[in-house]
């Protein structure tokens, strides 16, 4: 279920295979270090692996925005099943049905925006991989995870406003939006909270949080 099917993923695998065949040839045949051998080694140890590394990274960056990737650790399973459930009315699920952002729904909502948003989101994602494999979440069951794990910092309203600019009349004609401008601006009230648009993932909350 990886990314071999994508052009960049296929390019990564093909260049890596080409480099590997040159290296295997060198190990098996043990040729003298003549000009052509050097050229082959230059290709197999420097040029092709460099291209493979760049394309692998591009493919990996792409892969880490896919919702199946986010849902692949067992503690994220329910987040993903709710998201793809066509009958679910959760805010997250309602954001996953268009072909433009749906396949990357987790990432588009959770990525922080701004200049350093992209690398910082990826770095913080790395810390989740660390928590999972070395921090013990791997051995948690879902009930405990839902009871104890919450967003590390309040979900920034700026993330919602990346798409919902808040400048159209359908937004500004809502009395609640007008009355709360200050609170929304300063994140004291979250757009995704009880009484407003509701939490994004209902199943992971205690009744008093909804």
């Amino acid at each position: 279920m990886g990314s071999v099917g994508t052009p960049i993923g296929a390019a990564a695998v093909l260049t890596a295979l080409a480099a590997a065949s040159l290296l295997i040839h060198h190990i098996v045949v043990r040729p003298k270090l003549a000009g052509t051998t050097r050229l082959k080694l230059l290709l197999g140890l420097a040029v092709l692996p460099f291209i493979a590394a760049v394309t692998t990274t591009a493919s990996g960056m792409q892969r880490t925005t896919e919702r199946e990737f986010c849902g692949s650790c067992h503690v994220m399973e329910t987040h993903l099943t709710d998201l793809v459930d066509p009958t679910s009315l959760s805010l997250a699920a309602r954001h996953s049905r268009n072909p433009m952002m749906g396949p990357h729904a987790c990432y588009t909502c959770h990525a922080d925006y701004g200049m350093l948003g992209y690398p910082m989101t990826k770095l913080k994602g790395m810390s989740h991989v660390y928590y999972y494999y070395l921090g013990g979440y791997r051995n948690w069951d879902l009930r405990r995870f839902h009871a104890e794990v919450r967003v590390a910092k309040p979900f920034p309203n700026a993330n919602c406003k990346q798409c919902h600019s808040g400048t159209l009349s359908s937004f500004s004609n809502v009395r609640e939006h007008l009355g709360m401008q200050e609170e929304l601006e300063s994140n004291r009230v979250s757009c995704a909270s009880a009484g407003c648009h509701g939490v994004a993932h209902r199943f992971s909350k205690r009744p008093e949080e909804l």
Binding site: M1, G2, S3, V4, G9, A12, V13, A16, L17, A19, A20, L23, I24, H26, I27, R30, L33, R38, L41, L42, G44, L45, A46, P49, F50, A52, A53, T56, T57, S59, G60, M61, R63, T64, F69, S72, C73, M126, V129, Y132, Y133
Partner: protein, 77 residues
């Protein structure tokens, strides 16, 4: 400078190149695994460990070619 020359003179070029090939193969295998499997650990490894190993293999190659060149020039005198 003399130490560097001595280091290069003793450099086991052929063996170092074979080691570089093995390390390179490991790096490439990790990259392929990351793209093909697409699971979190494989993807992370393909963008970190694999690249470190790749750089190591490339460095071994560079030193070996330099050492070989130096040895030939030294032998030609």
């Amino acid at each position: 400078m003399r130490r560097l020359l001595a280091f290069i003179a003793r450099w086991p070029t052929e063996r170092a190149l074979r080691v570089a090939c093995w390390i390179g193969l490991l790096a490439l295998a990790l990259m392929i695994a990351g793209v093909v499997l697409g699971t979190p650990l494989a993807v992370v490894a393909s963008m970190s460990v694999a690249q470190g190993l790749g750089v190591l293999a490339c460095l071994l190659f560079g030193v070996s070619i330099a050492a070989d060149g130096a040895a030939r020039r030294g032998g030609g005198k």
